[in-house]
């Protein structure tokens, strides 16, 4: 049973055309994360929500925005995708922050830019 679901699995967009990736969770976890993972590299944290409290990483470009309308859903908006934004985008959840709780990952959305 999938607990962190990302849609779509594959997304193709044009250079500069806004795109939204979605993530939903059935775990009722407080924290949701968005990571960017480029080929053969470690996931890089973009931002995370603790409930409605938004936490942006210092080096996340302004081009990336996020919304969390409720506990279950979180969206990643890329306002003007560039070629360098082609990557796997991973959503993850955890019950709380700052503890040894595991992060539960979705299977990712692979974004391609034409």
């Amino acid at each position: 049973d999938a607990m962190v679901i990302q849609n779509p699995r594959y997304q193709v967009t044009q250079f500069g055309k806004p795109v939204t990736l979605s993530c939903s969770q059935t775990l009722n976890h407080n924290v949701m994360y968005w990571y960017q993972q480029k080929s053969s590299q470690a996931p890089k944290l973009l931002f995370h929500y603790y409930d409605k409290d938004f936490n942006n990483e210092a080096d996340t470009p302004d081009n990336f925005q996020s919304r969390r309308p409720n506990t279950s859903f979180c969206f990643l908006d890329i306002r003007s995708p560039g070629l360098g934004d082609a990557a796997m985008y991973l959503c993850a959840t955890s019950r709380v922050e700052g503890s040894n709780q595991p992060q539960h990952f979705g299977d990712g959305t692979r974004l391609s830019i034409l």
Binding site: S40, P43, Y50, G98, N100
Partner: protein, 112 residues
Amino acid sequence: TQLLEQSPQFLSIQEGENLTVYCNSSSVFSSLQWYRQEPGEGPVLLVTVVTGGEVKKLKRLTFQFGDARKDSSLHITAAQTGDTGLYLCAGRMGTGRRALTFGSGTRLQVQP
């Protein structure tokens, strides 16, 4: 600058061989987790270590957290093709509301 360095970056071995993957940092971590990621999927947690010097076993996998909580190792005994994947260590610094820092990853290929 990568806070967590993993070595080796790539490893290709034959089924049945043993291997060790290392995760090193100059920073102290309050806890460290190991994840495995298979192609086209998200990372899946293998283990969490918290105490300096702690050793945890998960079937053929043995995880160790360094005494100073700055490094960790993953040892696989008698590797199987199903062990193939990207192994990621991830550490949490300090206490409070801290996000995980992921290591650079080790890509393991086990040949039949």
